[in-house]
C-alpha cells in the first residue's frame, strides 16, 4: 500500500485511470444494450448480450476491488477473508442450478406418497 507522499501521488494517477476505465465500461455496457450497431447475437436481448454485459461488469468490479480497494497489494489474511465470502456466494449459485436440475415435481396434495396418513 502506498504510504509515502511520493507513492500516493503516483497512486492518484492510477485512481484517475481506473475511474476513466469504469466510465468507459459503463458507456460500453449501455451501448451494447441500446444501440443496434453494437448488438451482438440475435436482435434484442439474448444470452450473448448477457455474457458480454456480465463480462464488462466483472471487469469493472475487478478494477474497483484491485485498485480502489487496494487488493493489488494487500496482506494474505484479506485475500483469505474475501475469497471465502466469494466462494460461498458462488456455491449458493451452484446449489440453485443444482436444484433446477433436480426439480421437485408437485402433484397436488394427497397424490404423492399414498402410504402417508392412511392406516395399513
Amino acid at each position: 500500500m502506498a504510504d509515502s507522499a511520493e507513492d500516493i501521488k503516483k497512486a492518484i494517477r492510477t485512481y484517475l485511470i481506473v475511474g476513466g476505465i469504469l466510465f468507459a465500461g459503463t458507456v460500453a455496457t449501455v451501448l451494447v444494450a441500446t444501440v443496434p450497431m453494437f448488438d451482438i447475437g440475435r436482435h434484442g436481448f439474448d444470452h450473448w448480450d448477457m455474457w458480454l454485459g456480465l463480462a464488462i461488469a466483472t471487469t469493472k468490479a475487478s478494477f474497483v476491488a484491485m485498485v480502489f480497494m487496494h487488493l493489488n497489494h494487500e496482506k494474505k489474511a484479506v485475500y483469505w477473508l474475501f475469497a471465502s465470502g466469494i466462494i460461498f456466494a458462488i456455491a449458493m449459485v451452484i446449489l440453485i442450478f443444482g436444484a433446477k436440475a433436480d426439480p421437485i415435481e408437485y402433484k397436488g396434495f394427497g397424490q404423492g406418497d399414498a402410504s402417508i396418513g392412511t392406516t395399513p
Binding site: A5, A11, T26, V30, G85, M92
Partner: protein, 612 residues
C-alpha cells in the same frame, strides 16, 4: 485502557483492527448480495410469465452509475489527501462523495415514486394493461383529455381523499359487523359517507345480553344509531358473556366427564374387557395385551362422544344448576339497517379489502374484517385515464403452450374484441412490426438457407405496445381526427433503429414517465369482472419487481449507511485529525472500502436490472 493495533498492524496478520473487521464484514456482504442475485437468477429462469426485459428507463440508472463511480474516485482521493495531511482537500473530496450519495438517492426516490404511481392490471385472459388510473371526477369531466382533464377538480370522499377509479362500489341495505373483529377506521369512514348521503344506520333488532328475567347486563335497543362507541360497547358485552360461558362450559364438561367415568358402563378394566370378549382370554399374553389396548382406546373414544354437557349439574349459589341455567346469551354479530337519505349511500371499497370474489350482480359481499354487506353493487369498473402499455406476451405464451395461434388468441381477447380503438391500435402495431421485419431483412439478410431471416423482431417488439408505441399510434388517431380514419399505411418506422414505430422519449420523460399533458394516449374502462389482478408497480405485481425492489432497496440502505459514516468523518473528524491523523486516515480507508463495495454491487445491479 489502550486499545492495541488501531494504527500499527498486528504482526501475524499484518493488518490493523478495523481493516480485518471491515473485510470480514465485506465477506459477509458478498454472501448476502450473492444470495440475492442468485435469488434473481432463480426467479428469472423459473418465471412462469414473460420476464420484463429491459423494462426500466436506462438514463436514470446510467446517471446513477456515473455518480457512484465518481464518488468512488473522490472517496479514495479524500483518503489520499488525509495521508498527505491536506485537511481542506480531504474535506472537499469527502463533501463531493456525500453529495453524490444524496443525488443517487434522489434519483432512486424519483424512480421508485414513478413506479408507485403507475398502475398495472392483469386481465382474465392474461392481457396486461398499464397506465394511470384517474381520480373520480364530476360527471362529464372524464371525456376531457390532456391538459383540460387535469384542471377539473376530482371528487373527494367524506374524509377528503381523492378517489382512484379502481374501487368496488357497493350500496348496502344492511351491514352485519363481526363485533370481535371490527376495524375502527372503516366504521368511521362508513359513518362519514352515511352523513354525506344523509343515510341512517340503525341496529336492526334488540341485542340483549341478559338471561331471561335478569337485567344486570347491557341491552342494546333496535333503532340505536351506529357509532364506534356503540359497536365497542356491544363487543365488550359480548366478550364478557363469552368469557363467562367459556369458563362455565369447561367446568360442566369436566363434570360431565366425571359423571361418565363413574358410570358402570365405563369400566375400562381388563375384567370388563374379558367379560365382553370371554374367548380372548385364551390368546397369547402379548396378543391379548394388544387387543386390550385397542379395545380401551376404542371405548374411550366412544365415551367422548357420549359425554353430555347438558346433563351435567353443578352447585352454584347454593343450588344445583345445569350449563343452560348459567349460560349467558351471546351475540357475535350486530346487524345495522340502512335507511337511505336524499343521496344514494354508496361505499367505495378497495379491492384488497373485499374478500368475496368479484362477480357481476353480487348481493352480498364480505370484507376483510368479517363485515358482511347486503345490498346492491354499484359501478366497479377500473378506469384508466391513460393507457400507456398493452402487453400480449403472457397471453401469447399461454396460447402457444395450448397449441393455439397467438394472433387468433389476441383477436379474441376482451381488450381487442370489445374496444375498437385498441383493435385499430393492434392493427397498426402489426403493420409496424411488418416494417420492422423488412428493415431487419434489408440490413441483415437471410441465413445460408436463403429463407430464414438473420434477425427477427423480438417477442417484446411483436406483442408489447409500450408507452412510446401507444403515444405514436394515438398521435395518428389524433391527426386523422379519430381512430376510424387511421390505417396501416399511416405507420412508419425509423430505419436502422430496429424498433416498432414509436415516439422519441424526451429527457424528462426518461425520469418521470410519459408527458401526459402533451402526448395522446387512450382511455379505457375495464369492467371489474375482466380484471384478474391489479397492482401498482410494486413488489406485489410480479417477482421481477419483488427482486428489483429487494436488491435496489437494500443497496439504497447501504448508500445511506455509508454516506452517514463518511459524513461523520467529514464533519466530526477534525479533533481526531489533530490528535492522531493516521488513525483517522485508517478509518476513512475502512469507510472507503465499504463505499467501494456499494459501488461494486451497483456495477452488477445496473446491467442486470436495467439492460437485461
Amino acid at each position: 485502557m489502550e486499545i492495541p493495533y488501531v494504527v500499527t498492524p498486528r504482526k501475524d496478520t499484518g493488518l490493523n483492527n478495523s481493516k480485518i473487521a471491515i473485510w470480514l464484514f465485506l465477506a459477509s456482504e458478498v454472501m448476502l448480495f450473492g444470495g440475492l442475485f442468485s435469488g434473481y437468477v432463480f426467479l428469472r429462469i423459473g418465471a412462469d410469465y414473460p420476464w420484463p426485459e429491459r423494462t426500466l428507463p436506462v438514463l436514470p440508472g446510467l446517471i446513477n452509475t456515473f455518480i457512484l463511480i465518481l464518488s468512488s474516485v473522490t472517496v479514495v482521493f479524500a483518503w489520499a489527501a488525509l495521508k498527505m495531511r491536506k485537511w481542506v482537500q480531504f474535506q472537499i473530496f469527502m463533501a463531493i462523495t456525500v453529495l453524490c450519495a444524496v443525488i443517487f438517492m434522489g434519483f432512486k426516490g424519483l424512480e421508485y415514486s414513478v413506479k408507485f404511481h403507475h398502475q398495472a392490471a392483469r386481465l382474465t385472459d392474461y392481457v396486461m394493461v398499464e397506465g394511470h388510473i384517474d381520480y373520480e371526477k364530476p360527471a362529464g369531466a372524464h371525456a376531457a383529455h390532456g391538459a383540460e382533464a387535469s384542471e377539473v377538480d376530482p371528487i373527494r370522499d367524506a374524509s377528503g381523499e381523492k378517489v382512484e377509479m379502481n374501487v368496488q362500489r357497493f350500496e348496502p341495505a344492511s351491514i352485519n359487523y363481526d363485533v370481535a373483529r371490527i376495524h375502527k377506521p372503516w366504521i368511521e369512514k362508513t359513518l362519514a359517507e352515511a352523513a354525506v348521503a344523509g343515510a341512517k344506520l340503525t341496529l336492526a333488532s334488540d341485542i340483549d345480553f341478559n338471561r331471561e328475567g335478569e337485567t344486570s347486563k347491557p341491552v342494546f335497543k333496535a333503532g340505536s344509531e351506529l357509532s364506534v362507541a356503540l359497536l365497542e360497547d356491544i363487543a365488550a358485552a359480548q366478550w364478557d358473556n363469552r368469557a363467562w360461558n367459556a369458563k362455565w362450559r369447561t367446568k360442566f364438561l369436566r363434570q360431565a366427564w366425571k359423571d361418565k367415568r363413574a358410570d358402570p358402563s365405563s369400566d375400562l378394566s381388563e375384567a370388563a374387557f374379558l367379560a365382553e370378549f370371554p374367548n380372548l382370554g385364551a390368546l397369547a399374553p402379548d396378543e391379548k395385551e394388544k387387543a386390550f389396548a385397542r379395545w380401551r382406546a376404542g371405548k374411550r373414544a366412544r365415551m367422548a362422544a357420549d359425554v353430555n354437557l347438558e346433563a351435567a349439574t353443578l352447585k352454584h349459589e347454593g343450588r344445583a344448576v345445569t350449563y343452560k341455567d348459567v349460560k349467558l346469551p351471546e351475540s357475535p354479530n350486530a346487524i345495522f339497517n340502512v335507511a337511505s337519505g336524499e343521496n344514494p349511500f354508496s361505499l367505495r371499497l378497495r379491492n384488497l379489502d373485499v374478500i368475496t370474489d368479484y362477480k357481476a350482480g353480487l348481493t352480498e359481499i364480505t370484507l376483510r374484517d368479517g363485515t358482511v354487506l347486503k345490498g346492491k353493487q354499484g359501478d366497479s369498473s377500473m378506469v384508466f385515464h391513460y393507457v400507456d402499455g398493452i402487453d400480449f406476451q403472457h397471453l401469447v405464451m399461454i396460447a402457444e403452450s395450448k397449441g393455439q395461434d397467438p394472433l387468433v388468441a389476441i383477436k379474441n381477447s376482451w381488450i381487442v374484441k370489445e374496444n375498437p380503438e385498441v383493435a385499430k391500435m393492434w392493427e397498426l402495431h402489426q403493420a409496424g412490426v411488418k416494417l420492422l421485419e423488412q428493415d431487419l431483412i434489408k440490413d441483415y439478410g437471410y441465413e445460408d438457407d436463403g429463407v430464414t431471416p438473420s434477425r427477427v423482431p423480438t417477442l417484446k417488439d411483436r406483442y408489447r405496445m409500450g408507452w412510446q408505441e401507444i403515444a405514436y399510434y394515438a398521435e395518428i388517431f389524433h391527426q386523422k381526427g379519430g381512430y376510424e380514419n387511421a390505417s396501416a399505411a399511416d405507420v412508419k418506422i425509423e430505419e436502422g433503429k430496429y424498433t416498432p414505430p414509436r415516439v422519441q422519449a424526451q429527457i424528462m420523460e426518461q425520469f418521470k414517465g410519459p408527458d401526459y399533458d402533451h402526448r395522446h394516449f387512450i382511455h379505457l374502462t375495464i369492467p371489474r369482472e375482466q380484471v384478474m389482478m391489479d397492482s401498482k408497480f410494486t413488489p406485489k405485481w410480479n417477482t421481477y419487481y419483488a427482486i428489483y425492489f429487494t436488491i435496489t432497496g437494500l443497496h439504497g440502505l447501504h448508500v445511506i449507511g455509508g454516506a452517514i459514516v463518511l459524513a461523520y468523518y467529514l464533519f466530526c473528524g477534525r479533533s481526531m485529525y489533530l490528535s492522531n491523523p493516521e488513525w483517522l486516515a485508517n478509518r476513512v480507508e475502512v469507510g472507503g472500502l465499504f463505499w467501494h463495495f456499494v459501488d461494486l454491487v451497483w456495477i452488477f445491479a445496473f446491467p442486470i436490472f436495467y439492460l437485461m
